[in-house]
């Protein structure tokens, strides 16, 4: 039997563990709103019993550990969903900006094409009328300007995205350096068998931030150490060592993402970087090339038709639009009306000023295959359809992804989130336990006094 002192020591273990448990509760309450914080619980365990023959006596309570409640699978899903969500939402933002150039059916390139043919039609019954000829040139000018504007907007957006790549890579490097640094601290603590909960939370949170930028995979190397790579295996962090990515200006004028000397631009599949690269390297060049195709096809067809007739001075028609660049690349940006003199429109088919024979050839461009086997207006409306459906599909995907992300966040909250109600209940529980243990101490104290004073009732003096 361990006697009264044994009882006292058991009561003391109750006091100190209750106090530690209250500390954990207090820490949870303090971090209720800290992003990435996982609630902690005090894991209590009964002290090893002392066995006397057939009787075993308890030795009080010990705090076995403070456990951080975190579901690692959920954290991985959250990382992956964050990568996808950020890629999609970045794409959506950019696509919505792109589609503003193509949003009206009564202005912009489509309406300009219709208006150009409208002006030609007006010229048909009165082919020598200079005012009507001028309005053909004005319509041609509006069309060229809108091609220029649409192409320039896209190019400007591409330039901004280039800058975003540089900014994002800067952030990626900052985050990987921080993660490596935290990883080193975790290893040190764990080697010393110390609790690294807070640092693990911090690291998890940093990896979540990194997931918003780039696709990252976490490989645990045991004993708290981690290795981060992109999904195609480019190393970002190995233990306490981080590997910075860099950017370098590629041949197409785009900033390429480099890991050392290796170009990993096209292998990035998640995070805002993936979204930026998708828009910058796929969507915008695709739309630009279609605009170029249409601009070049249109200009060549109109020039070809004009060359078949005679202008107001009876001279063979020349170019209405400047000749598009060979191959068409850059045609939308370069599109320009070549003439300012309205008499140079070749409306006549026989050299007389009153003939409108060649207006029909010019107007016929409206029904000609100018690009990809399609008429100008069909080609353009198809382009608008593509842009619209890409945007609308991306929007639906982004919505779905953000709902999944939200559900995962809910699940994470249900595992790791701090509930103030729960903490209040814990507080009451540990407070009561502390009070009870204190009462035991006071009782033992009385008993000890009784024993020391040999029956004199000191307690009642």
């Amino acid at each position: 039997m361990s006697g009264l002192f044994g009882t006292l020591s058991i009561a003391l273990s109750g006091l100190s563990t209750s106090q530690q448990a209250l500390e954990t509760t207090s820490n949870n309450v303090a971090n209720a709103n800290t992003p990435g914080y996982s609630r902690e619980v005090s894991v209590l365990e009964a002290g090893a019993p002392i066995v006397y023959g057939s009787v075993s006596m308890g030795t009080g309570v010990v705090l076995d550990q403070i456990e951080s409640l975190r579901n690692p699978i959920l954290e991985i899903q959250l990382n992956q969903q964050t990568q996808q969500q950020n890629s999609l939402s970045t794409q959506l933002t950019e696509l919505q900006q792109i589609q503003t150039s193509f949003s009206s059916s009564t202005s912009g390139i489509g309406a300009d094409i219709s208006n150009f043919f409208n002006a030609l039609q007006q010229l048909s019954p009165d082919p020598s009328n200079l005012a009507l000829r001028q309005s053909v040139l004005t319509a041609a000018g509006n069309l060229a300007t809108d091609f220029n504007t649409a192409a320039n907007n896209l190019t400007t957006q591409q330039g901004n995205l280039n800058q975003s790549v540089i900014d994002d890579i800067g952030q990626v490097n900052t985050l990987t350096a921080q993660i490596a640094n935290v990883d080193q601290q975790i290893s040190q603590l764990q080697n010393a068998n110390e609790d690294a909960n807070t640092l693990v939370d911090q690291q998890t949170n940093l990896i979540r931030q990194l997931s918003a930028l780039i696709d990252v995979q976490v490989i645990s190397t045991g004993n708290g150490g981690i290795e981060l790579t992109t999904s195609n295996g480019t190393a970002l962090v190995t233990g306490s060592q981080s590997f910075a990515l860099s950017t370098s200006l590629g041949p197409g004028g785009t900033e390429q993402v480099m890991s050392g000397s290796q170009d990993i631009t096209s292998t990035i599949t998640g995070g805002s970087l993936a979204g930026i690269i998708q828009i910058r390297d796929q969507q915008i060049p695709g739309i630009l090339s279609q605009l170029d195709q249409l601009a070049a096809g249109f200009a060549n067809a109109v020039n070809g038709a004009n060359a078949q007739g005679y202008d107001l001075n009876g001279i063979k028609g020349g170019n209405i639009f400047t000749t598009p660049p060979a191959g068409g690349t850059g045609a939308a940006t370069a599109m320009h009306v070549a003439i300012t003199d309205p008499s140079l429109i070749a409306a006549s088919s026989d050299g007389t000023s009153g003939s409108n024979g060649n207006v029909a050839n010019l107007s016929a461009v409206a029904n000609q295959s100018v690009a990809n086997g399609e008429t100008p207006i069909n080609f353009y409306s198809n382009l608008v359809f593509q842009i619209g459906s890409t945007t609308s599909n991306t929007s639906a995907d982004a919505d779905a992804s953000s709902q999944i992300l939200q559900q995962l966040e809910d699940q994470r909250g249900s595992v790791s989130g701090v509930s103030l109600d729960e903490e209040a209940a814990n507080m009451v529980q540990y407070q009561t336990a502390y009070q009870a243990a204190a009462r035991v101490v006071s009782t033992v104290n009385g008993l000890l006094l009784d024993a020391v004073n040999l029956g004199i009732d000191t307690a009642q003096e």
Binding site: G110, S114, N115, S353, N356, I377, S414
Partner: protein
């Protein structure tokens, strides 16, 4: 099961959704269109561009028809005057063929016929909005000029060009007859016939046969004039057709892009209710925890 103790992100997301919906409905109501950007309805956005193209073409065909109609009716009424004038000349020829007339009477008639000749030249040089109507595609200079050296008394400076104007998809209308087919057609040249009559009158020989010549040339011209009547009929029926098409195109545009105002308004008020509910939920959210009750 333990619930997520922090419902705020969910509520904020819901609030964000209803705000987005409110914005969409408001835009729809203010623009009257439910296709305000291609992603709203990609197919409708593409079709609206083609619809606008059709509407533009339809309107420009109608405008052209209006211009053509002016040209055609001016030409037609000019030819009507020409016919009246020629009838006068024919009457004068019949009168001059009467053997009882004196030489001076015939000289007077010949002078009167010369007056008719210049009147005819002036009619043949009629222009519409600055363009000569009977010079073929030579529209900038008067097609006929008096010429004493030419047997017909005039020279034709026009050509035989005919202009066609598109007034529908693949539908063209011819809008002029050159003077060489109307006034100075080979075999039925009214100027030559008139000049022959003047010469016959002056020389008092073969007046009757010269009058007959003018009469048949005049009949030929009358027959040619039918062209203008036909063309004006074509203009009329095509105008009617395009007016109907215009309604159809407008109806198509409405069905493609016009917002259903009643639905949009209902959606808006529903979204606003949702928004208020979400905000109310947030405002009432866990202002109390268990801590408040532990005193």
């Amino acid at each position: 099961m333990r619930v997520n103790p922090d419902p705020m992100p969910d509520l904020l997301a819901a609030l964000n959704q209803t705000e987005l919906q409110t914005q969409r409905d408001e835009l729809e109501l203010s623009t009257g269109s439910d296709v305000n950007q291609p992603s709203d309805n990609p197919l409708a956005a593409a079709l609206l561009i083609e619809n606008n193209d059709q509407a533009t073409f339809n309107a420009s065909y109608l405008q052209s028809l209006n211009t053509i109609n002016g040209q055609l009716s001016t030409a037609d009424s000019t030819l009507s005057s020409v016919e009246t004038t020629l009838q006068q000349a024919i009457s004068l020829g019949i009168e001059g063929a009467n053997g009882t007339l004196s030489a001076s009477d015939r000289t007077d008639i010949a002078q009167e016929l010369q007056g008719i000749q210049s009147q005819l030249i002036s009619l043949a040089n009629t222009s519409y909005e600055g363009n000569y109507l009977f010079g073929g595609t030579e529209t900038t200079a008067p097609p006929y000029a008096a010429s004493s050296s030419d047997p017909s008394g005039v020279t034709y400076n026009g050509n035989s060009g005919v202009n066609k104007v598109s007034v529908g998809n693949g539908y063209q209308i011819e809008v002029n007859l050159p003077g060489s087919q109307l006034f100075s057609a080979a075999g039925n040249n009214v100027f030559l016939a008139l000049n022959n009559l003047i010469t016959a009158m002056q020389s008092n020989s073969d007046i009757a046969s010269a009058t007959n010549g003018l009469s048949s040339a005049s009949d030929y011209l009358t027959a040619q004039r039918v062209f203008y009547g036909n063309s004006m009929d074509q203009v009329q029926s095509q105008t009617t057709y395009l007016d109907t098409a215009k309604q159809q195109i407008a109806a198509q545009q409405t069905s493609l892009g016009a917002a259903d105002m009643a639905t949009a308004a209902t959606n808006l008020s529903m979204a606003q209710t949702d928004e208020q509910a979400a905000m109310e939920a947030i405002s009432k959210l866990s202002q109390n925890t268990l801590f408040d009750y532990l005193r």
